[in-house]
Amino acid sequence: MAVVKAPTLARPEPFRSRILDWLTTTDHKKIGILYFFNSLGFFAIGGILALLLRTELARPGTQFLSPHAYNQVFTEHGTLMIFLFVFPMLAGFGNFLVPLQIGALDMAFPRINALSFWLLPVGGLTILSGFLVKGGAGASGWTGFAPLSVQGGSGMDLWDLGLLIVGTSSLLGAINFLVTIVRMRAPGMTMMRIPVFCWAVLATSLLAVLAIPVFTAALLMLLAERHLGTVFFDASHGGSPLIWQHAFWFFGHPEVYMLILIAWGIVSEVIPVFSGKPLYGYRGVVLSFLMVTALSFTVWAHHMFATGAVELPFFSITTELISLPTGVLFFMWLGTMWKGKLRFEPPMLFAIGFIAMFLIGGIDGVWMASPAMDFAIHDTYWVVAHIHYVLFGGTVFGIMAGMYYWFPKVTGRFLSRRLGIWQFWIQLIGFNLTFFPMHVLGLRGMPRRIADYLPNEGWTGLNTLATIGAYVIAVSIALFFINVFVSLRKPRDAPDDAWGAGNSLEWATTSPPPAHNFDVMPEVRSGRPVYDMRMHARAQGGGSTP
């Protein structure tokens, strides 16, 4: 297949104006790349914080972090990973890909797009700056449970303010995605032809628009409680800590699906390409996304079983029902692989790793959906195991699949295959070494969020193992960063259709795409326009694609 050169922008620009260009850009592709940098930066920070946690927990006794420091570190670890790594990562992929995949020129509101990006680092640094103030950073967990979060110094305010900023960013971004997907599609690109990745972005954005404002309200109430003397969460004055709980989890549960949908979208793009088949049951996948979106607003109190203040059977059954659409997705991915011709390139390896690991995480969740069982494992390391099997085993493996898959499109260069395979295996082993033992720790009654434990509780060995595993993960992530760094110095070598089997429109343009996205807009007659082009070209006798 012929390689179309990017239009010659060869004239080297002066450095200053290049910087200015990045700071003021409203091009969705550049903003997407900025999002990637932001996310990877916060991933590295959040990961290093995690290593601090694991180092402290390796042995009993507080050798490394004081309890006060530990509490700050786990709070910021969770907060950064969730709000500043994963969601912005979705916005990164979404920004770069959605307009390309639906054949648009840019996002619906390019300037609002730039604004939502720039709010992010501002919010993130606001949260992190808590480490510099007296009393330290916010230390009430990523869930900021009131009334505990009413205590604490100005680090808590910075956490609150930072999240208000980040929430605004996500809300604006989500509205932008929704309008773009509904209104900016190319001719022939009907809703049932857009790539599933776009459906994932659409579902995530719906969740964001409807859930984030509730969190914003809770954060504002918390600020008022801390500074204006309100008593929303103060039971001795007619308020109730349950107000925070309900508001937070009404947001919090949709939030966790916002964090996984990105991976579902990516994996649903990657698996067909490396199986040589179309996605099995496109309509089933779309239906599942939408069902999950709707159901996720009905399950929030499964985080509150142990409060003794919620309707247990109702929230138990809705939570169990949410595994049905999720389960369908697994069968759709397997169905796509079935009777295919699988190519185990790094994106496919990570996608398979995703399926294998997210399944465990999902089932871990179903354990806790039974209130009686949850009473025994709630707030133990079982929950920590669950969240990392879904968020690392699920989301991070999915994101890595996406990174390897679209890197050639974004930069025009492939990531090293060899390093990718090494990274995959080290990551898989390190991940299970770290987080599998946490199931057992949970069953043995080790509570989460503790800075220290006693030597006689039988938790030491498994904690040491988990710490070793965390360092193994760190090696794999370091390999990824090295891979990116090394690959960026290579000359461009990626063809338009980088994997030779692409389906969606981004593979019809150059790698990287020109500023205006498409020199020639291919016709869209099905959900796989680039496949159609390939078939057409083959029928024409091996002629090159335009």
């Binding site: 054949g103 648009a104 020129l105 619906a108 509101f109 809300l171 989500a174 509205i175 932008n176 929704l178 309008v179 509904v182 209104r183 900016m184 190319a186 001719p187 628009v209 409807l210 859930a211 984030i212 404002p213 509730v214 914003t216 309200a217 809770a218 504002l220 109430m221 008022a224 204006l228 003397g229 309100t230 008593v231 929303f232 103060d234 004055h237 007619g238 308020g239 109730s240 349950l242 107000i243 309900h246 508001a247 009404f250 205006h516 996205n517 498409f518 020199d519 020639v520 807009m521």
Partner: protein, 195 residues
């Protein structure tokens, strides 16, 4: 044919405009924002034995009723303005928009006056907490709405609004109506339903 030309026509026929759709989504989010606050209100209220608490007493109705009239009138006026713009009468739209902004400003001023007359402060318990935070956040939304309408006013006076291009008007109107509806909710929750 360049890519740009290829798309523009197709898109113009497709339903609502982007600003209007964006605003509808934004307002949907805002609705959940206030729903969360109302949720807090009702959960507190159902578990309280006396509501409003004895120390607060039943609030006066006079000023809040005027506030309600002001805001509802402003919505009606704005809607007439939208009808005007839709039939191309830009001048009369500008006047009606001016009146809407004026009514909004009156609302803000009168509510500030109402606050100054209250016998309780925000620190005086759960009822004042809910009252001040909910009406205060609503007030901020009214102020935001006034700013938004003023921006539209700016566009109108500089001739950027026309029969062909008036999405900003439609979008700002949706927002203003929403703010109005929230006030009706607050009026019911804090004044009407407690007598």
């Amino acid at each position: 044919m360049s890519a740009t030309e290829l798309f523009t026509d197709e898109r113009a026929v497709r339903g609502t405009s982007s600003p209007v759709m964006g605003m509808v989504l934004f307002v949907a989010g805002e609705a959940l924002f206030f729903a969360a606050l109302f949720g807090a209100y009702f959960s507190v209220r159902t578990s309280a034995s006396v509501w409003p608490p004895k120390s607060i007493g039943v609030p006066e109705l006079a000023v809040p009723s005027v506030l309600t009239v002001l805001l509802v009138t402003s919505s009606v006026v704005l809607q007439i303005g939208v009808a005007a713009v839709r039939s191309g009468r830009i001048d009369s739209f500008r006047n009606l928009l001016g009146l809407t902004i004026l009514l909004g400003l009156c609302f803000l001023a009168l509510q500030a006056y109402d606050y100054s007359q209250l016998t309780f402060g925000i620190r005086d318990g759960i009822y004042p907490s809910l009252f001040y935070v909910m009406t205060g956040l609503h007030m901020a939304h009214v102020a935001g709405g006034v700013v938004l309408l003023s921006l539209v006013m700016g566009q109108t006076t500089t001739g950027q609004i026309s029969l062909q291009r008036h999405e900003p008007v439609e979008a700002a109107t949706i927002y203003w109506h929403f703010v109005d509806i929230v006030w009706l909710g607050l009026f019911t929750a804090f004044y009407l339903s407690v007598r």
